[in-house]
Each structure stands twice: as C-alpha cells, then as structure tokens.
C-alpha cells in the first residue's frame, strides 16, 4: 500500500498562483492587477453558493450586493441554522485596540506558528490583513459585540497568542456573526439578487468542458433531484469532523459536497489535519449522539489539572472522592508545569495531547479515566462568583444542564481555601484543517469551482488557533472570494446561461439517482447509524489523537471491511417519495467512509508529527510533536483515481516561506 502511495506521486505540477512581491504586498498587488467584471455584466452571471455558514452566507450576500445573480443552498430549514452558529468564543483581528503589541504581522506569525508551519504563508498574511475589515463590517451590521464601560469594544485572549485580540459576543459569537451575515443575505434575497433554497442538499457538481457549471441537488422535502446551472460554483459546506461519528459538529454536518467535488477531480488537501479540541464534555455512553464543546475562552480563567498522586486518581475513578476534596498542593496543573510561558492557553493540539498523556498514564478523573478537571476555584476566589458568572454564566448553565453539576457551586473548604466544583473535560473532534485544495484565488483544481471556509484547506496549516475559524470564514466570504471570483468570471461574460437539459446534467443526475437506488436496494439488516458508529470507533481508536503506522494500516483494513458491510448489509426503510431521513443519512455515510480512508492514507504518508497530526513514532523525548521539514514541508494533495476502492494518488505542493523562519514550535518560554 505504501509503495502504491509513493509510486503514484505526481504528474501535474500544482500551481498555487501566489502573486509576486513581498508577503505584505501580495494581496494589494493582486487586487490592483486582477480582472474585474463591470456592473452590467455581473447581472448576466449566475453563481451557485452551497452552504450558508459564515463563509457561504457572507459570500452569497456580498456577491448579491455586487450585482451577481446568486443561487444559495442550505441543508437546514433556514440559512440561519448553519453550524457556524454554534461557535462560542470569539473572532480574532489585529486591531491592537488593547495596545498590547498586536499587529497584522503578529497575527500572521501566530497563525503560521500555531499551524506548525504547514500553512501557505501568502494566504495567512492576507487573512490577517483583512481581519480588521471583518470587525468593522460586523459592527456596522449591528452585531452586538461585548464592550467596555467607555463604549469601545472589549477583547479577550485565546490559545496560542500572548495578546488580547479576540472579539466576542458573550459565549455566542458565532451566532451573532452568522446572524449578521444572515441579515445581509436576507437583504439580498428581498432585493431579488439571491435566491434561497432551504432543505436542499447538493449531491453532485456538474462539469461541462472542464469547468464547474452547476449542481444536482436533492429537495429533502419532496425527495426529488433537481438541476441548477451557473457560471461558477462555490462550495462552503464545512468540515468532515463527523467522519468520527462523535464530534462537536452538528448532526447534519457532512462531507458529501466536498466528496462530490473530489470524485470529479478536485484535489483534497491535508485530510490528516484534524483538530481535537481539549475542552469538551467527556463521553457518557454508547447512545450519545454528539459531543458538546465548552468554549476555549474558559481557559482564560479556568485551570486544567489532574491529581499529583495516582491514588487520588484511582479514588476519583471509583467515585470515592470528588475533585474538590483534593487540596491545591496535591493538584498537578500540568499545562502550567509543562508550558510556563503560555500555561493554560497553549494551542489546542498541545493541550489535547497533554490531557491524553495524563489520562494514558492513569491520572484521568472520571469513571472511564478519560477526563481532566477544568477548575474555576482560583478565579472565583480572586474575582468573586458574580464576575466569573458574567464572563461564563451561559457556559456554566450549559454544563450543569448536561452533567447535573454546577461549576460555580462552593463544594469544599480546606485550610481556609474555598474549592468549587470543577468541570470535567476531555478532547473531542472539533474542526478539520484539511479540505478541498484551493489556490490563492480559492479556486479548486477544477476551473470555476471554488471552496471557502472550513471546507477548504488553506489557512490553518496543521492546527487552527482558537477564534480563527470565524475569521477565516468571513474573510473568505466577505473580502477574498468576491474579488478573486471576478478574475475567473471576467472572460465568462459572453457565455450564455446554460440549459439544465444538457447531457452533462442528464448524466450527473442519472448517476446520483443510480447511487440512491443502490442504497435503497441493499435491504440488509443494519441501520445507518450503527455502521456510522462503527466507522467512528475505528477512526477514534486508530486515526485519532495518537497515530502509528500500524494503527493506520489497521484502520485502512477495517474501513475496507466496513465498506463491504455498508454495501451489502445496510437497511434503509421507506421509499424515495417525499422525505426519507434514513436515505439522506445513508447517502452521507457512503462519503464518510471514503473520507475516513482518505484521512488514514494521508496520516500514513505523513511520517512526521505536526499540529493536529501526531505520529507516535515521531516525538521528542519530552513527548512534543517532531516535524520533518526536510521531507514533509509540503501540502499533500490527493487525487481521486476513479473508484472509491482504489487508493488515491499523491501530488505535492511544496511550501515556500519568505517572511517567517521555520523553526520548532515553542510554548515553553
């Protein structure tokens, strides 16, 4: 298999289209020289935008404002439901309102370093550059960001940064930013520039003469397939976290749109880079449907610990004592111990691995031994419960509703020190840095097909910093794609609108229909979820936080067997008339299986540890990730080989750093 991977290396060269000039001038240069479309011609051009999260909604709204005709699709009953809405903590920008030494360069540097030097420099610089426009934009929309008493905007800190550059709206920043984008989108819908299709799911992309010209989408209410044509197609369909079944993603989050593009020839980049978020509520049982994130902002005041003594850990696991019974001097604040400079605010990958390390050694604090404490005692003693509740009240309530434990409740007093109930947390799949490969213009390897937001791979390297997902989604949608797509469309102005009766549409629809018929016809005995859970367990156990050559090869074998099980023993009740939620899930599961394999192939190929990808063979004596820049300083682009059962081919986009010196990531001093 490995040989297969290596021999398949690269035919076409990958052109990332990075503009000339120093990194700080590239975007300015690009905009100065790119081609534009004049207003009269914009009206004649149609753009399909699939997805209404931060990236999709902001892109659809902005393209509509510019005068393009936009067709916008969402899987939920309203654009406002997209999963961006669940982002809690905040959004980064290099405003330096706090006068703490922030700058565009520092945000750029922190993001590249946070990504373990595996992101594309030019893209990240552009992201940092437009970050400030995003905050201006959102305030103008009426987004109620948190403010200081003087009336100016407030900030807080997130992992991987030594400045306070995160803007927030309580613990509901994603909601407020998405509702802002949704409001702009609504204005365009009202004006007739955007047509909105709710409860539709993209099933395929239609390619005519090598260019993306439309999609096949299923109306989830009627069950009918429908055809839509346009001059360009933008997918903004999020990440692939649900490949692992349990994740912090919403239930409908899926990778099918991205997989449709991949099967049509769009490269999939860096699938192994999966973010495991350190502060999630631990699993409670096998009936669980999803994992709940507790915002990273809690790490501003919360301290993460496990007992120093293994005996205390054993008593905790047996339920004989509680966290609040263990006094200060018996606690191991392991992040503060290992990473004095960043303490509890180390990046997510580092915090997650450190938690796993303690739990693997037997120091886990719940009945499964798969949890650590996040404790607010020190903060409450210092600031008072009112201040702490003002900052995190809704998160405390959320935690209590789920676990029946109130983290703000006084639980014990030892030697005059008050101890409050700590939260229990454990890492969980949260975000995917990998995604559809795009060039600097956010165009995929298929002409006319663009990918924005989490579904592309571009800006976060091997690990994303907190509060940067919202930044990237909105940067792509408001400020980058609306420019770069014009460079593509400028020579399309004479291309008339396409008929959906063309043979390419006919063929694409037939293939989609044949696939659905096949799923209905298996008539085996297993539900979609039971197979999906099995996939999730394979992924978590063998392609999770710590990966080895052996575990990855095991995963590939097991997934192969699971695909056979899926194809021969799946059961989908009902028929294709009207709504069939099991059929919709089965359609998505087929793609999760292929995605799971893709993650494993990439993780197997990347024989180094970087960011969210940790190969246990490659670590320092202290257990830190050990990169191999000599051999792996590239973006791994995977090309589909015509059949889900065939291994994909690897193409490499070498990385070039001009502005930043590549070095070992250090959060210790």
């Amino acid at each position: 298999m490995e040989e297969n991977l290596k021999n398949n290396v690269a035919q076409p060269a990958i052109d990332s289209k990075i503009p000339e000039g120093p990194v700080a001038e590239k975007w300015t240069n690009y905009k100065a020289h790119q081609k534009l479309v004049n207003p009269a011609n914009k009206r004649r051009l149609d753009i399909i935008v699939v997805g209404t999260g931060l990236a999709g909604a902001s892109a659809a709204a902005t393209l509509g404002e510019m005068g393009f005709k936009v067709l916008n699709f969402c899987i939920q009953d309203s654009p406002r439901r997209a999963h961006s809405i669940a982002a809690q903590g905040g959004i980064n920008a290099a405003k330096n309102y706090q006068n703490d030494g922030d700058s565009v360069y520092r945000l750029f540097y922190d993001t590249v370093k946070g990504g373990d030097y595996r992101a594309r420099e030019a893209n990240v610089y552009r992201l940092a550059e437009v970050s400030n426009n995003i905050i201006d934009q959102c305030v103008a929309q009426g987004v109620p960001f948190a403010r200081e008493y003087g009336g100016l905007l407030a900030n807080r800190s997130f992992g991987g940064a030594q400045v306070s550059r995160t803007f927030y709206a309580k613990g509901q920043t994603g909601q407020q930013l998405l509702l802002g984008a949704y409001s702009s989108l609504n204005r365009q819908i009202e004006m007739g520039n955007v047509k909105s299709f709710n409860r539709y799911e993209m099933h395929d992309v239609v390619i005519i003469d090598g260019r993306a010209r439309g999609i096949i989408a299923k109306n989830l209410v009627t069950g009918k397939l429908e055809r839509f044509a346009a001059h360009a197609v933008v997918i903004a369909t999020g990440g692939y976290g649900n490949t692992y079944f349990l994740s912090t993603n919403a239930m409908a989050c899926n990778v099918s749109a991205a997989m449709a593009c991949y099967r049509k020839g769009a490269y999939f980049a860096n699938p192994a880079y999966v973010q495991i978020h350190p502060t999630c509520i631990p699993r409670h049982g096998d009936k669980q449907s999803k994992l709940t994130l507790m915002s990273e902002s809690l790490r501003n005041d919360g301290r993460i610990w496990v007992p120093k003594n293994i005996e205390d850990a054993k008593k905790l696991q047996a339920g004989q004592i509680k966290g609040s019974d263990i006094p200060e001097e018996e606690r191991d604040y392991y992040l503060e111990r290992r990473y004095p400079a960043f303490g509890n605010l180390v990046p997510r990958d580092v915090a997650s691995r450190a938690a796993k390390e303690r739990c693997d050694k037997g120091y886990g604090v719940n009945n499964t031994g798969q949890a650590v404490f996040l404790d607010f005692s020190e903060a409450i003693n210092r600031l008072g419960i009112d201040v702490v509740r003002q900052r995190y009240g809704n998160l405390f309530d959320m935690y209590e509703e789920i676990t029946d434990v109130n983290p703000g409740e006084l639980a014990n007093e030892i030697n005059g020190v008050k101890y409050y109930n700590p939260m229990m947390i454990y890492p969980a799949i949260h975000y995917t840095m990998g995604g559809i490969w795009v060039d600097y213009e956010l165009q995929t390897s298929i002409k006319g097909l663009f990918a924005i937001g989490e579904c592309n791979f571009s800006d976060h390297g091997a690990n994303r910093l907190g509060a940067s997902a919202l930044m990237q989604g909105l940067a792509d949608g408001y400020f980058v794609l609306p420019y770069t797509i014009q460079n593509y469309l400028s020579d399309q102005i004479t291309v008339p609108r396409f008929s959906t009766d063309l043979p390419e549409f006919e063929e694409a629809e037939e293939r989609v229909q044949a696939n659905l018929d096949k799923l209905m016809a298996i008539k085996g005995s297993r539900s979609v979820d039971s197979i999906h859970k099995e996939l999730g367990n394979i992924m978590w156990d063998f392609v999770g936080m710590g990966r080895t050559k052996e575990s990855l090869e095991t995963a590939l074998e097991k997934i192969k067997d699971l695909r056979k099980e899926f194809e021969t023993n799946l059961f989908v009740p009902g028929d294709q008339e009207g709504m069939n939620i099991e059929l919709d899930k089965a359609f998505r599961l087929r793609d999760f299986i292929t995605m799971g394999e893709l993650i494993a192939y990439d993780a197997l190929n990347r024989e180094e540890s970087c960011g969210g990808h940790f190969r246990e063979e490659h670590q320092t004596e202290e257990g830190e990730a050990k990169r191999d820049d000599e051999n792996f300083f590239y973006v791994a682009c995977w090309k589909y080989n015509g059949d889900d059962e065939k291994a994909p081919s690897l193409l490499k986009e070498p990385l070039h750093y001009e502005a930043i010196k590549v070095q070992t990531r250090n959060y210790k001093n």
Binding site: N133, R147, T292, F479
Partner: protein, 251 residues
Amino acid sequence: MENSISVKLKVWRQANPKAQGEFITYELQDIPTDTSFLETLDILNEQLVEKGEEPIAFDHDCREGICGMCSLYINGHPHGPATGATTCQLYMRRFKDGETITVEPWRSAAFPVIKDLMVNRNAFDQIQQAGGYVSFNTGGAQDANAIPISKVDADEAMDSASCIGCGACVAACKNGSAMLFVAAKVSQFALLPQGKAEAKKRVKAMLGKMDELGFGNCTNTGACAAECPKNIKLSNIARLNREFICAKSSD
C-alpha cells in the same frame, strides 16, 4: 448517574402535510437519565428502523441549544419542562420512571407540518427578509470603534439578539403571534446606533409581513416570554410597540 427509567412516548405521526395525523405510543425501556431527550428519540428511531419501520422525522441539528432547529411540544410545553433550554438541552432526568410523555409538533397556522414533528418555519425567514437588517454593502464600514456604544445598551441589544428563531413563542401563544420574535430583532437594532437610520421603515415592514403571513396579534399574555428557551424578555414587545407607534405617528 447510573439511573435509568422506562417511559412511554406518545408521538404525533403524520406522513406528509396533507395526511391525517395521529398519536402513536411507543414504549422505551432502560433509558439512562443522562441521555438527552433527542437521543431518546434517536434510540426509538433506531428501534423503529430495526423493525423495518420509518423513523420519526423531527428537526434537530446543533444539539447544544443554539441553532434553533429543534422544536417539539413536550407535555404541553414548547421545548419541554425545562426553562431557558431548548429540546436538545433537555435530559431524561427531568422525567419520572413510567411517565407518558406527549410529543407534538409546533401547532400554528403559520408553521404547517411537513412530516411527523417537523414543521415549515419559512415564514420567520420572510419576516427577517422584510427588514431585519442594516442596509449597507460589504466594504463600506468605518472603523469599528468610531462610534462608542454604552455597555448597557450593547448588553441589552445582545440579550435581544440571542433569539434563536425556533418558533417556541409562536407555538406557546394562544393567538399564534410572532410578536416576541419580531420584537427581539427590532429591539436589537433600536438599541444600537447602526440600526437607527432605517428604524421606522424596519418596524413597519416586519410587522406588516408578520400580519400578512397569518400570524396572530399580541394580547400581552406573556406565554411567549415564559416559554422562550433563550429568556427573551417581554419588554422587547413594549419596545416594539413604542417603535411602531413612533414610526406610524411620523407617517
């Protein structure tokens, strides 16, 4: 934590918008009390699929109380017995062993049933499209700190903006009114300088659309605010009324 209960779920089943619906009762054994209510429905659906039956259709997505997709009238309350929480944040420890739990879709003329427990809330989008925005184009904004906004106003605007658009207010209202939903958006913008320029146009357009779409009117009963999973306050409706009167009186 290890407790489990057995419950009967009396669930509204309706094959499509035009079909005649009915309640069907399902028995569920040994549900751990730290299972969420929607996970309990998942368990039931899994059992239905195993028996070759069609699962119950219900709306849900984020399962952490923020997307507003989940709905359900549970034992006579939108989002069930917990206050300040959505259905997806409801856990089985709220119910008693042996209890019969009645589960219905939102009942409102403006929210027709699509299938089983799933309703069409497109009317909410249409109300927002009528004026729930500040009219300006991307790129035209001034510096974010150019206009100071008092913390008190910003916090209050944030409270109003917390509405998740789930429709519980409409489902709870004896008149099927969407006043709390409209009031939340109008209030958010009324409290912020960015919303002032088109405040009059906005309030008239949004209320006009609400009437047009078949929602009832408000008789200040307050069921909406009592049942709102995000604790949107009734005072938003007072502010909406004030905005509307000001707008009309300057016509």
